[in-house]
Symmetry: C2
Subunit: 431 residues, 2 copies
């Protein structure tokens, strides 16, 4: 324990920035005993100093000048919480190049420019930590880099977007349709004004890129990740899934296979007995499989002021411990492999398919003949004895098949006169 | 990355020792890229060198001489996996005093002598790590000490014994009685020849002592932890619990309350919707609550050759990273507070009570009058219309009450002529 005070700057005082400010205040009394010395926020970068004044105890720390932070030699740690690519990228690079340590929750940036930032940190032997960028408060980056370092990880996947999980939970538990559940999520503050990044799986895709990179020791960027959203899911699909012993979740999946890494985000049917199936509301969870640890799962709050701040402050304390022990930059980039990322067409999946067909003899035979032509085997099929406008609804779950082949089969089926409508196609998790 | 090889010795080549040997072999090719250099096991301490020869590639590393390890200046890391208090304690102390880093999975030892060992490591500025001592392969010690360091943790609890969780799962899912489920666990190798430490909650109690110490930054030793086993649980209790929307689990609970730490292990009823209720078979899970992170859970394999080895090797790699970065002993003992541990009588709990009473008017009134005298409120009650030998079975769940008061009330009820038998008393988790 020392009398030293380590000075830090906060960039941004939005939800997470305010949370970090609060959490550091609440740790003020015991942080010296815990990590060896005090950390003090001496500068906070905001756009509007006057508006931000009410949020802090001492408004004199507020500034709208990035230079005043960059050029202050006493500031050793920069906590970047403004989000987005620009100017966050420039600020972080400048801070690292100036020998400052950086902690960030910026998934957009890391999923695209992570390599560049980690390289810059390595060159200056400073820390660049980002535990909060994936799954909010849930510890997952450090466990993967350290606790599970004795494993060859083969799979890391999870529910890494709280908004969509809340929507799917409401659809499943209360029979709501997508647009009503989205409206409720917006009303309750779970969904942003423009919910595209959540709904379309883009936010989850960024987290998958980061998780895959850390778990498989090989760089995966956002552009490598196939993404598909949940807007097409109906309560009817969820109902059929339940009947087939499964839940529907928006999953981010990364798999290290013999012929490359698979990385995608899409709604999937998952067995009701799988630990991820019981992760509801806005909770997140990351499920991993390694050759030594076997299955493990990390569950908690994936967003929110204080949970995200918990992860940020954990990183800040680690930076402090490294400074005091003289080992800054102790664990940097761990991507020492170059594994190719597979195209989505080359992944092998099972599929849930709901379609309307003419209610006459031979239609099922036609469809299954096309399936057979492209090596698509049927595992489960449901056709109910209820007809609407001369059509029957058929629901099929296939065995595993190459996605490209399945797509070709679907195009051929879609062109048949007997097929009135392909209502939904959803991938199915499992062997 | 360096050409340096760090030499390590393994003490013990049982299940976990063999696992560590295998995992280190499987990481041989990439550990330099991952952690900076190679680790080589140059000595393995075994009782019988000849018997152990078949288990290793190069039997010349086997020895039955602890001194040959202690006195070998090239050995920088000692991995203690012999278990138990003696001679493990002496070996570890001697190794630490000789300036060697120590990694162990020894919960028995840490739950009693952790303070002494951490002090010895601190004095020599070496690492003493024990991630594998709690919940096998599940990362929990490092997440608590680092990722969640920004929290005031208020609760850490979990299913930390796989044997008893397997038994309770069989009783719940297949209606087996305790002794049959235990026999099956023994047959499948989940239970040891003498299952006392598992069944009576002692094994879980040691883990609770360690978890509480790390989570609340205050020393809790095994002797502070109240323990109660699962031998008294019947399939009938489980059946009633289900009817009341709950599962029965052997929980290790540690809570940091205003008037001290509560630390105990006992079977408990837990709401079926709680994440821990769905943790089945031999899986473990640790649930934590902190003021910033809110709820989080860590799930996985709590025992077994490779999962436990995963945690041990994660620690070994951390020791290596510290050696290379020149910051050994970077994170040592984090118990900087002295919070008293409460007696079990002073904890407040809810209770599930199953009893046989005379089937006549006024008996329930008598019982509830005694309850009222000791501030015990009834929250739920079930009495079925089936009588055996003139007796009715009554099942009650109480509101929260001080345990000491509840015990007094129970003694008074037990002495009533109208009460034929108090079949079971089980605590109930929740407000």
């Amino acid at each position: 324990m020392s009398d030293r005070v380590i000075k830090a700057a906060l960039l941004g005082l939005g939800t997470v920035g305010t949370g970090v400010y609060k959490v550091l205040k609440s740790q003020e009394e015991e942080m010296s005993a815990k990590v060896g010395c005090k950390v003090e926020i001496t500068r906070i970068l905001v756009r509007n100093v006057e508006k931000a004044a009410a949020k802090v105890k001492d408004p004199s720390v507020l500034t709208n000048s990035w230079e005043s932070i960059l050029e202050d030699p006493e500031i050793e740690i920069v906590i970047e919480l403004i989000g987005g690519i620009n100017p966050a990228r420039e600020y972080i690079l400048q801070a690292l190049n100036a020998g400052k340590h950086v902690v960030t929750a910026n998934k957009d940036l890391i999923a695209v420019h992570g390599h560049e930032l980690l390289d810059a940190a390595h060159a200056k032997k400073v820390d660049f930590l980002f535990e909060a960028a994936v799954a909010g408060g849930i510890p997952i980056i450090r466990p993967l880099k350290q606790c599970l370092a004795g494993n060859h990880m083969t799979e890391v996947m999870g529910i890494v977007n709280g908004t969509t999980n809340f929507i799917l939970t409401k659809m499943s538990q209360e029979g709501m349709e997508f647009k009503d559940a989205l409206a409720l999520a917006t009303e309750l503050g779970y969904a942003e004004a423009d919910p595209t990044a959540d709904i379309e799986g883009l936010d989850a895709g960024r987290k998958v890129a980061i998780l895959a990179s850390v778990a498989f020791n090989s760089r995966v960027v956002f552009n490598d990740v196939y993404t598909e959203g949940i807007a097409k899911i109906t309560s009817k699909d969820i109902h059929y899934a339940k009947e087939m012993g499964r839940a529907i979740k928006l999953l981010g999946v990364a798999r290290n296979t013999e012929d490359g890494i698979e990385a995608y985000v899409c709604p999937m049917l998952i067995p009701s007995t799988h630990p991820l199936a019981t992760v509801n509301d806005s909770y997140n969870a990351v499920f991993v499989h390694g050759d030594a640890v076997e299955d493990a799962m990390f569950f908690g709050r994936g967003a929110g002021e204080l949970p995200t701040a918990s992860a940020v402050v954990g990183d800040v304390f680690d930076v402090v411990r490294n400074i005091l022990a003289g080992c800054s930059g102790r664990i940097g980039c761990t991507c020492y492999k170059q594994i190719p990322v597979k195209k989505m067409e080359d992944t092998h999946n099972r599929y849930f398919l709901r379609l309307k067909v003419e209610d006459r003899c031979g239609v099922l035979a036609e469809m299954t003949a096309i399936f057979a032509k492209y090596q698509v085997s049927v595992a489960q099929i449901i056709q109910k004895d209820t007809k609407v406008e001369g059509c029957a609804e058929v629901v099929v779950i296939t065995e595993k098949v190459r996605e490209g082949d399945f797509r070709t089969a679907i195009e051929e089926i879609r062109n048949r006169d007997s097929v009135r409508k392909i209502s939904t196609i959803i991938r199915v998790y499992g062997k």
